[in-house]
Symmetry: C2
Subunit: 196 residues, 2 copies
């Protein structure tokens, strides 16, 4: 056993999990999303800045507005998924830093006083949290269908504001029988890792 994580958890989060393209009709509850968030919120970000913001698209009316901004190949599955989440970076995350980073509340101004610095930091750290979120969906016993094929500016205007950058749209639900494509190959260790 080289890894400490038990093998059922390895399978659930990584080995047997796949990106899902189709789902059953079983709803995804607010209780599940709350439990998911209350798990992944502990995973780290720089200065505990926690810039990820999540819009859950539940109503039929909102779903239609979202689907209109998805690329053509993503429309049908986004329309049919039990729940869809828009993951966005909050470029004004520094407003929360005095509460989130109480042992150095000045970090808000000292490190993040300038908007371009905040945007770059929010982008990286919200993406880390998006990675945690995808694994969190799996931890909840659900399948995730993360997508980058959408009109980001359209989604920003429709669901967010100028202070938020949409990063991923994620379909969420129980996978149906035809949910998965065959697993594609992965890079070998030596193609990814070098030692100096």
């Amino acid at each position: 056993m080289t890894l400490a994580l038990d093998s059922a958890a390895q399978d659930l989060l990584f080995r047997e999990a796949h990106t899902a393209n189709a789902f059953t009709d079983e709803p995804v509850t607010d209780e599940q999303m709350q439990a998911l968030y209350d798990l992944i919120k502990y995973a780290p970000t720089a200065f505990n800045q926690s810039p990820l913001r999540i819009v859950l698209v539940r109503s039929e009316e909102a779903r239609e507005r979202l689907v209109a901004h998805m690329s053509e190949g993503n429309q049908a599955k986004t329309k049919a998924a039990p729940l869809v989440a828009i993951l966005a970076a909050d470029n004004e995350f520094h407003e929360e830093l005095p509460a989130l980073f109480p042992h150095f509340p000045q970090a808000k101004d000292v490190f993040f006083g300038e908007r371009p610095v905040r945007e770059k930091s929010a982008e990286l750290n919200a993406a880390l949290q998006a990675g945690y979120f995808i694994l969190g969906v799996r931890a909840a016993g659900l399948a995730a269908g993360p997508m980058t094929g959408f009109d980001a500016e359209g989604i920003r205007k429709e669901f967010l504001d100028g202070d938020h950058t949409p990063m991923l749209v994620v379909n969420i639900g129980k996978p149906s029988e035809d949910a998965y494509r065959p697993r594609s190959p992965r890079l070998a260790y030596d193609q990814v890792v070098s030692v100096v």
Copy 2:
């Protein structure tokens, strides 16, 4: 049980895991890093582009070159950690796409023919993978100390090339007794999640 992930795994990856600032002398082996990679490689990226590249800084000579580019507050712990990993995005990931995305090998040129598009995609997807990597370190029974305080251009020149963008530097090892700061607060569900 709202979550499917067993509670020991929840604790190991999220609830009881903390960013570590100090480590024991116990080495981190290549076998552990290989097992970690062979787990996290399955987590998803757009078009399976898998842009994360990892430089393991093992030799004393390389460690000194790295420490020189870390911000002052990160130098001592980076010097002392059993193993340090530089996580970088490969902006030329598209060269691997015909192998990684075999059912549409043209994606290499159709979607990623232009460098700025590749850079943006590599940045997002390597950051997702960096999130998987941090949880992978914990899955290996180790503690991670991820850092963004460094001279990225200096690290790029010292350890990478113009096609790679450094994203995080991560100290890795068994946490020592004084490894952890008290847990900082997290945002509440309602501060992060909205429903439409």
